[in-house]
């Protein structure tokens, strides 16, 4: 499964970069996230509750950052297992472009492989759920970043 999208965020590129690496921001923005912790090697361990059609499960996953290119972007590798519900792994390449002094365009391309019941029962639903989940993430992310921005400005 491939997903591709662009989001315009009303914040500076440096601020977006910082937020993208802030596990507290991620915890708040990731839909269904029940916890994020940073591991010794810098990777993140996350617990995320998801629901795809009739399948709901708590995924435990590992996210690691590769090709760090501050503040232009990185590649995020992820791998998660959700018991009988299945598993997911893949990578997302995230690029940040400063399109104004306080405006950043975030573009990403993600490739994911899913397996188990999630793939079997959810095959017809998964793309819609993924798009919706990604939309919720960016809504929340933009909310957090722009709120901080206005607080800072105030």
């Amino acid at each position: 499964m491939k997903m591709e999208s662009e989001h315009v965020i009303p914040a500076s590129r440096a601020r977006v970069w910082e937020a993208l690496n802030d596990i507290e921001v991620l915890r708040q923005a990731i839909p269904g996230c029940e916890g994020v912790e940073r591991l010794e090697d810098g990777a993140l361990k996350a617990r995320v509750k998801i629901k795809v059609g009739p399948v709901s499960a708590t995924f435990t996953g590992r996210l690691s950052f590769k090709d760090m290119d501050e503040p232009n972007g990185y590649t995020l590798h992820f791998e998660g297992q959700g018991g009988v519900a299945g598993h997911a792994r893949g990578q997302a390449t995230v690029r940040l472009h400063a399109t104004g002094s306080d405006v950043t365009t975030l573009a990403y391309v993600a490739h994911a492989q899913i397996g188990g019941r999630l793939a079997q029962v959810g095959a017809r639903l998964i793309e819609g759920v993924a798009a919706k989940t990604s939309g919720l993430f960016f809504d929340a992310f933009v909310g957090i970043v722009s709120a901080e921005q206005s607080q800072t400005a105030a």
Binding site: G83, V84, I114, G115, R117, Q120, V121, A123
Partner: protein, 805 residues
């Protein structure tokens, strides 16, 4: 060796549409399918945690949370099971063996492979506990398709095997390659099936119970071949065969998929023995759709033909996708060898060669589905013959006529050494043409848009199926062992004069309780109400092969004829003594033995039975043994060919791509028809399964090896809305070699339907002459074939019309 003569079967019941004797209880809801049986006390339920990866190493399995869950009695992993069971071993080549553990130990090779098994007090609690098991996997690269498996550098499933090809069989008539080089015309292509699921309406399952005191295992199982399952379970558990009893109750369909012994049944038996408590498992439908697969083929076929359209030779390289493990203990080549055997079908082929292979991939293991390799063999041969006819400017019917085996060719021994006993191919073809008005239709409507805008087409398919194979054939095909080829019947008349027939063949819906009762009633002179057929318990039926490969009526029928003849002869001797006449003058009918021509001189079969058991006042003839029963086996000779000609008319809607089957005809020759209603039911049901295979069904995998059609919404099968009337006629050419003249009827419907429908679709689109080599022909696929974008319906300019990708 008995010297009894077997009279031609005839009488009141055989050949008539006796209503089925099993129906009343099934209609009342009194059937006894596995889950309907009363459950034994202390029963536990099982559920399997299955691999979500196509190929992975198991790093760790965490059971603590699941073990603490409500109702959980125990959880076992593959490593634990390996202490109690031996793996299934399949020979690969001359030296190597391929081992399948009953549950994965350190490596999983397909999505769905069992990794752990939960034992709990209710099926609901089993599901809860399965959610709590934590397994860490390290994913490995996977090999999914036949093309990938054939590549030398594809990921290997077995480190100790040189590659993923695990079976190869070659055969060549000397001079075949030279004949191809000199041939005027050659046509070739690669034909493939989509992987199918059998979708028996009852999923498989078992109840296993172990008597620790006696060391005996009883398995109520949906086994299609109970004696084979008994052996495989006994082997895996180290039990003696006599101490394993398989009872297959009413079984809700199989179509070949329940012939194999899957690991779950071995696991269940081992747990029942370990715990000393009965255990039960019933597969759910998503498991069934993800695991019970068959017919995943890719056949490259080439024909050579002379200027007159006469076949010179056939060469082919069939490849069968076995999935991750072979399911038959003795061979990895059941379907592949079947392709070698079946490709010639009803045609005369002087030069013939094949190299048949089976490959392993990271997909669910496949079993033989109704028709085995023959449907795709017929698809290839009929398609290539029509292409040859097209190229030579010959009529497609005429090219078949020039190559079909005719009565005057008999006895015809084909290039793999099998002799055709009968050949009504031309007669079937002629009658099908007449019945279906094929010629008028082709002249007037083929490929023309109708008033409704749909394009219509029609096609004929000829097929011959080698049925009722005995030990000589199974040995030649290398699949002997526990698929020996013969079957057995024990016929008993009890002291009250009522009979039971105990058969080595279990039924999965084919009507054995009726057909074999018809035969026995006629031969024993009993009313059919006084005959029952028992066929489900290895403790009480003779050893035998079992139903499958269109053999029940031939092998089982032969055994019934032989056993009944012995019992009838004994009754005649007893009656002759009681009536003081000669046994040759005795006629058995309607529960009475009477003297031919002197009806008032008679004695009831009840009295004969009492005499035989020495519980009446009369004495037995001198030298007769006590009792009234006989057990006999029948090993069919190598060849009894059923044949058929199918004719199909389809409509293709160019707006939606939907293919509708509008008319369907089968002219069929299975020799002696024992019960026309049941034979027609077999044919019609098989044709409709073929409609599913050609138009809708595909057990698809994602590129990563995830099965993605695991509900009946994603794996649609035909409904009552999808089927036309199916007109069936019979030409009865009794086999010249089988006892009773029967030939098999279970699969020929499934074989002819694939080429008939696909060629009819080609005919509907004859303006663009599409060469269709794959299926299913779903609406989106049809739009592609017609050069239209499946999403927009607009033309696809880059797609060369008439070339199948």
């Amino acid at each position: 060796m008995s010297h009894t003569k077997h009279p031609a079967i005839q009488g009141r019941y055989v050949g008539t549409a006796v209503p089925r004797r099993e129906d009343e209880r099934l209609l009342r809801g009194l059937g006894r399918y596995l889950d309907d049986l009363p459950e034994p006390g202390g029963l536990f339920y099982l559920g399997f945690l299955r691999s979500p990866h196509a190929h992975a190493r198991i790093q760790s399995i965490g059971l603590d949370a699941a073990l603490a869950a409500s109702g959980v009695h125990a959880i076992y992993t593959g490593a634990m099971l390996a202490q109690w069971t031996s793996p299934m071993a399949t020979p690969v080549g001359a030296q190597a063996q391929l081992l399948r553990h009953n549950m994965a130990i350190d490596r999983v090779r397909y999505v769905g492979e069992p990794v752990a098994v939960v034992v709990a007090s209710s099926p609901y609690l089993v599901e809860d506990a399965l959610e709590l098991i934590e397994v860490d996997y390290e994913a490995l690269p996977a090999t999914i398709s036949i093309d990938q498996a054939l590549q030398a550098d594809s990921p290997r499933l077995y480190d100790d095997l040189p590659g993923n090809v695990v079976f190869e069989a070659r055969h060549a008539v000397p001079g075949t390659d030279a004949a191809f080089e000199q041939a005027a015309h050659r046509f070739s292509d690669t034909f493939s099936s989509s992987r199918l699921c059998g979708v028996a309406m009852e999923t498989r399952g078992f109840v296993a119970s172990f008597d620790k005191g006696q060391g005996k295992l009883t398995l109520w199982s949906t086994a299609h071949l109970p004696h084979k399952e008994r052996w495989e379970v006994a082997q895996a558990l180290g039990l003696q065969e006599k101490n394993v009893r398989i009872i297959s109750p009413d079984v809700g369909g199989s179509f070949g998929l329940k012939t194999v012994t899957h690991p779950e049944v071995v696991v269940g038996a081992a747990i029942a023995r370990h715990l000393g408590r009965p255990v039960k498992w019933q597969q759910d439908r998503p498991e069934d759709l993800a695991l019970m697969h068959g017919r995943d083929f890719q056949f490259h076929v080439e024909i050579a033909i002379d200027d007159q359209g006469v076949l010179i030779g056939v060469r082919h390289n069939p490849v069968v996708n076995l999935g991750a493990y072979p399911l038959w203990v003795t061979t990895a080549g059941l379907d592949a060898a079947g392709a070698g055997h079946h490709m010639m079908g009803p045609y005369k082929v002087p030069y013939y060669a094949y190299c048949a292979r089976s490959v392993v991939t990271n997909t669910a293991p496949t079993a033989s589905y109704r028709g085995v390799a023959a449907p795709i063999c017929a698809f290839a041969m009929e398609s290539l013959l029509e292409r040859a006819a097209d190229s030579l400017g010959l009529d497609p019917i005429e090219i078949r006529r020039r190559n079909l085996i005719r009565r005057e060719d008999l006895p015809y021994t084909n290039a793999v050494g099998v002799t055709h006993d009968t050949a009504s191919n031309i007669e079937c073809l002629d009658r099908a043409l007449e019945l279906s008005s094929y010629l008028d239709f082709r002249a007037q409507q083929s490929g023309q848009p109708g008033e409704d805008g749909k394009f219509r087409g029609m096609a004929i398919a000829c097929m011959a199926d080698h049925t009722g194979q005995g030990t000589s054939v199974t040995r030649a095909r290398g699949q002997a062992s526990r698929w020996p080829g013969y079957d057995g019947a024990l016929v008993k008349i009890e002291p009250d004069g009522k009979a039971s027939v105990h058969l080595s063949l279990a039924s999965q819906g084919q009507g054995h309780a009726t057909v074999f009762a018809q035969m026995a009633a006629d031969q024993l002179g009993l009313r059919i109400e006084d005959v029952t057929v028992e066929a489900s318990d290895t403790a009480s039926v003779p050893f035998g092969t079992g139903a499958g490969a269109s053999r029940g009526a031939v092998a089982g029928g032969g055994a019934v004829i032989k056993a009944c003849t012995r019992v009838a002869d004994k009754m005649k001797r007893i009656a002759a003594t009681l009536l003081e006449v000669s046994p040759e003058d005795i006629i058995l009918s309607e529960g009475t033995a009477s003297v031919n021509g002197v009806a008032e001189m008679s004695v009831s079969i009840e009295k004969i039975a009492q005499t035989a058991y020495m519980i009446g006042p009369s004495n037995m003839p001198q030298g007769e043994s006590i009792g009234l029963d006989a057990m006999e086996f029948y090993d069919p000779p190598s060849s009894s060919y059923s044949m058929a000609c199918h004719a199909a008319q389809v409509a293709v809607d160019p707006a939606t791509g939907l293919v509708t089957v509008e008319r369907y005809y089968v002219v069929h020759d299975c020799g002696r028809v024992l019960n026309p209603q049941i034979v027609d039911g077999q044919i019609a049901g098989a044709v409709v399964q073929g409609i599913g295979a050609v138009l809708m069904e595909a057990a698809r995998y994602s590129d990563e090896g995830q099965p993605i059609a695991t509900t009946l919404l994603d794996y649609p099968i035909p409904t009552a809305m999808d089927v036309p009337e199916i007109v069936i006629e019979h030409i009865e050419t009794p086999s010249t070699v089988t006892l009773g003249g029967m030939k098999g009827a279970g699969e020929s419907g499934a074989v002819g339907v694939v080429p008939a429908l696909i060629l009819a679709v080609s005919d509907a689109l004859s303006a663009s002459r599409p060469r269709i080599t794959t299926m299913p022909l779903t609406p989106s696929r049809m739009l592609e074939i017609m050069g239209l974008d499946p999403v927009t319906g607009q033309g696809l300019p880059q797609t060369p019309v008439g070339v199948d990708r």
